[in-house]
Symmetry: D3
Subunit: 300 residues, 6 copies
């Protein structure tokens, strides 16, 4: 095929699409040649975290007590490098701070500090994720072993990405956390905002369609089924009729709550400790501790 | 490993599976050696469209006012070539027209015309997509910037694929549009049929589980949450008890409607301007403009 | 970038992460160097099955009556090799049987037998899948051709993976079946447990969010829409308060049932022959044959 | 890094390099979008020929009497496709024939005929190459087996490429043969012009630096060592002082000749049957059958 | 396979090989994490130069007067980026200058200046290389077209790499030029030191084994055949018995000289204008202009 | 393109090429499904050896005293695995020993022992190669640093491959050593038989065309220039007129000898300590220690 015959027809479109002034906010101009957040690097970063946390299940399968030190050393080094690059990229992308844009040494210094803090947190992250694995193994009669949970359950991958992203967010890294949770969203259908707060022994079964909003607070030993939404109900508007950003607007789910499939919990309400929310219902008011709520009876 | 020992056991299965007469409609015979629709090429085609529409966010990150013309020129040329190949492939796959199958010059001529028409539409497609970006940024308190919407929000990718596929469909290209929207479906969980009609400032939040049927008509400034279905209720059957194809059977959603998560809207009904449909409900009758509909109260 | 400056800071984390005793069940030690289940190989295995079952649609597009024998022969051989490797990997991973771990000849013998049995079943699997294609083509007014169904419909890919995984499960292969259905889950949002029992002419429309639990039994000519759950309601607990594994706890769906989008059917109940379950409802009790059930009316 | 700061400096060079008129013969304009000869495709083409001729040594190692038919069938089909593409590319590149440039059906017809003729010759090519293998195995005390010769000896690869290229040249295919022998030249340091005529049982030892010119004629059972040149001495010049093309100007080497390392044989002379040429000498006159020629004695 | 059983045996070797003090000059410590010269990037850099100089022959084949500007713009930008990276890498690798090692802005500034100077020279480099193409086409009766020379002749690739490397060397870039000529050496068997000085209309036929030393000076319209050495005869030694570096020690070849295959020209001698040196001879003294020198007669 | 039209024409050739009986020694039948020697794995094996011997120059550039242990540990483990696989492959390919073919545990045991012995030799191999680097740096006025020698000089790569291959040969590994030296031959034009014996401080300058035969013995501090042959003169023939294998037939080069470019040294002769052999000469008789030999004078 050849575009030769239509070169002149195409010329005009090329000109229109190249009109920089028409682009406004639809492009990103990288006039200093900074590295941008890279999907491929972030996927590798996630892979490295997973293989450091669950060695032998992710990353090289040939891990033993004889060589774990070597593998951990190499993977930590690679992770550090990727973190420094992507944290830098996120900082440059999301801020206009002239110091960061003009002084590469300061930018690198900042990114390296964040990277070290993140890596230092990995042993604790492993401990918390192990409670999630336990919760999902204990809570699912179909699970044959914890190995099956770690290897096959999409919720583990989604929660792992969330815990990584949440830590980066608390370290002040912009944009990157959101990309990381959206990767899990695409892979598993589970959409957890990195700003949400989630306790230990957290379980999601099946998971497709789960949405956990940015200001949600989830206690310990909570279990969600597929299609559950922890969302916002309405937003206070500013003078331009746009939602005001940064207001707590998602539910608080206390310890030991179970929410069945496709239930929708909306607004800054509290689902009390030990409550059980049945499937396919729409909840916009507080639910008392221990309460059990189910859908109105269907009709024939 | 080796199949040598079991060669004779396998032989019989090979023969059964190679029995061409048993295949009927389960294979595609390509007796002229035509190029087939290719998932890999279509993924590249989508990437090129995205980088032409949102330069710097997709494709090469090193885009500036100094070099945008070069990038646009090269990408337009590549896109033209891919379009010609895939449009040809779609035409050959889906039609029995002997002219297209036997006269490569006529086929190429037709495919090139469609490709040029598609490319000429890209500046307008950029304008419409920019309204979708604006709607999603304004409507989500969690969005930090339009850049975050373009880079991270799955709905942008799904709507972008839909707008590309819809244009190709209106140009008479078979099969390819459906493959393109199914790619977005797999990536985002959002399933928009390429034949649906969708206005400007269209927003989908989170998105997993959204289904928009082939004859749906959606106005301007409509917002859908995850799990919303715009589906068909029942199909008139033909004499063989199969659904009659081509009848309008999906809803009409007028301007400024909001539909919350997991709501199911079925049949050729109309949701009037400015109506609000609560989550988890099943709607099979018209809803008046401005009406607000929510689920029957749950019971304890 | 360089981790040099922070080498000592990182050293401590490396040591903590390399502490083998802290890993307990969070790692997999492969002290004999066995091959592990491999996502990449299983993806290739699925591709080979698809191209053997639907030649010309999957795999090489240049299939004709002249060369189908060659393609089938080569693909069967490759499939055999992959099956032997992955069945061996699954057996070693999931069992502690010392014979399999220490006698490579016995392990290979067992894996080869299973592989041959699986391959011998492929012609029958093709027949059953062709009924699924027919059901989806006949049941969807938007489908232009069976080719479109085979090429574009995610449900075909999910059901194909399920039927492969179910056969492997009945042959006693551990772990691998679950990985195979989770691949389809990630790709399509449809989560079918490999242990479920599903009849012929099975159709799923759109599909995202569908969950079919391990002990579900589905008859012939059943149709599910997106977001339908066939789940468990409650689990008998053992003395440690954990669910008892292996008890029938999912629904029985008899022949000719239709279940609309986002309906949740929970527990070992029976949905009788020809029943129609409306969308967004929560069903925990038997439904009589032919009954039609819809949601309680919404309120304004 | 970024080219932004120097954009204007680079602009001028871009303009100079884009001045089409300055390019004259230094570019290739492909105004019809024809496929060009492709190094990657030709490498694959050579691999396919090698695996058809020496199955099990090249290509899939899992070849047995049970599956050779399948492998041969598939590889022949792939080879046919590549040949048709590359023969077409060579014809378009090297000729100005308007029929070939404007009638794709005629071009394809011609290319397909040549491809079939080439493939039909492969069994005979296998027979001739087997004589070369035998000659190299018998003539080298260091060779442990014919398998070692086929797998390791660069001369086999160079002669194999030559025999493929020579056949294509005699079928009237332009350019492609030369690219094929230059691939072997780069890989082995052995430079055989595709137009040379070479008999059976041909052996080259080590091979680096061997040059065999276009009009050379080599008999049966000839053996060359590394660095041997069969070259031209002087060329009759035309009125512009350029060499006249197409004149026989390289040596005739009769049966059973041995030429030792770094000997240079120049001009249309004849080295008679059974002659032995010592290393490092310069031969520009006929050598009688059976004669032995060595360098003048060195001095201290 | 598994290294588990031999872990302790291997442990000792790992320790020996990791003993940093034993490494002395055999390793390169990159304590600042600088980018190193990269073979892969340099291969891409060469590809970009070739496609800028000979558009349509190298790089994208779809070059026409309609799109040459776009291709040139994009390739120039990519080349600039690669040059800046690799020039920086070469400077850091080869110098101990603390300014370059500690001030990334100064290093980048220097590398960018050199990159711009190099790119500005490309139009002149194209002109000179076109004289080499002409010389090789006119001088070889086997050449069918200049296109064949550009596409197939290894000498063009070797001379192109030399001219690129020589320019970088004169711009003060260390190490990189040598890597670039060694790439051509490996690909073509032609070893030209980047410091050599070579005039226009330079031709090498076949080329394998040609060696051109660092202080060689070659005039215009010189032609070399395969295996020709322009080498050094003896080196003045310093007090440690090592050769003194930097002394002119290779031949001067004046205009219009022809040197036949495998001739060895050693030392700082002069081969006068228009001289002809026969093959396989060893020349260590001046040769007068126009003289013709051939090997002593062989003996039987 | 399609082979459909010519399917019957091709059918006959497919049958001829698939006739197993006609293949005799031209194929390799792998009836047990053994792994074969793999070019790709051997290239990776060589890369690992190079990065263990010259860390920072080959393999990861980010090597420092902080992380060398990790890199060495991981690379040693990978090398062990590759060695076990390729040694097994070589043993199966080259021997008919039924024990090795039928008892996978014995084969693995043998391969693992050889792999451990090889790896244990690496520290000594590093020491010897460091003498070669020193010899080449000291002997070449053009060398700027030892780093340049290690990174750029083809002879280092060729000698490195030779020393690896020679060690494997002395450990009784068949076939693999020859493949390894042929890889270096293709890359550098230097052809060293793995069975040759070569001392320390060995230098080759430029190298293209150097041939060192299987029974050559080379002392310490020897230097060869490009195109030097250490070959065999004539072979005693057996009763079938084929060369008798295994007889010493190549030269002995004593310490401190220099041999200039394109010299050919043939037969089991001895070049005495400190002798200097001029270029382009043919030597078939002993040369006394300290002697200097040059070509007979050229004539005009």
């Amino acid at each position: 095929m050849s575009s030769y015959k239509y070169a002149e027809n195409l010329e005009e479109t090329v000109k229109k699409l190249s009109d920089f002034h028409s682009l406004e906010e639809l492009h990103h101009q990288s006039c200093k040649g900074e590295v941008l957040p890279s999907g491929q690097q972030l996927r590798e970063l996630i892979s490295l975290c997973r293989s450091l946390i669950f060695p032998g299940f992710y990353g090289s399968p040939d891990v033993s007590d004889k060589n774990l030190l070597y593998h951990t050393g190499i993977n930590t080094e690679k992770l550090f490098d990727l973190l420094v690059q992507q944290i830098s990229a996120g900082l440059l992308f999301a801020t206009n701070d002239p110091v960061l844009h003009n002084d590469p040494n300061q930018l690198e210094e900042l990114a390296e500090q964040r990277a070290v803090e993140f890596i230092s947190y990995l042993p604790e992250m492993r401990r918390v994720l192990s409670t999630d694995v336990t919760a999902m193994y204990n809570g699912d009669p179909a699970a044959q072993s914890k190995a099956e949970v770690i290897l096959c359950y999409p919720a583990i991958r989604a929660i792992c990405n969330y815990r990584i992203a949440h830590k980066l967010l608390t370290l002040g890294v912009p944009l990157i956390p959101r990309i990381i949770t959206e990767m899990a969203h695409s892979e598993t259908g589970i959409d957890i905002h990195p700003a949400a707060t989630i306790g230990e022994y957290f379980a999601i079964d099946h998971g497709t369609g789960v949405v956990i909003g940015a200001t949600s607070i989830i206690g310990n030993r909570v279990k969600l089924y597929q299609g559950v939404t922890l969302g916002a109900r309405s937003f206070p508007l500013d003078e331009h009729n746009n939602p005001i950003k940064g207001i707590a607007r998602h539910p608080i789910i206390e310890d030991d709550v179970i929410i069945y499939s496709n239930a929708t919990i909306l607004g800054r309400i509290t689902i009390g400790k030990g409550a059980v929310i049945g499937g396919n219902i729409w909840v916009t008011e507080n639910v008392a501790p221990g309460e059990r709520l189910v859908q109105a009876k269907a009709k024939q």
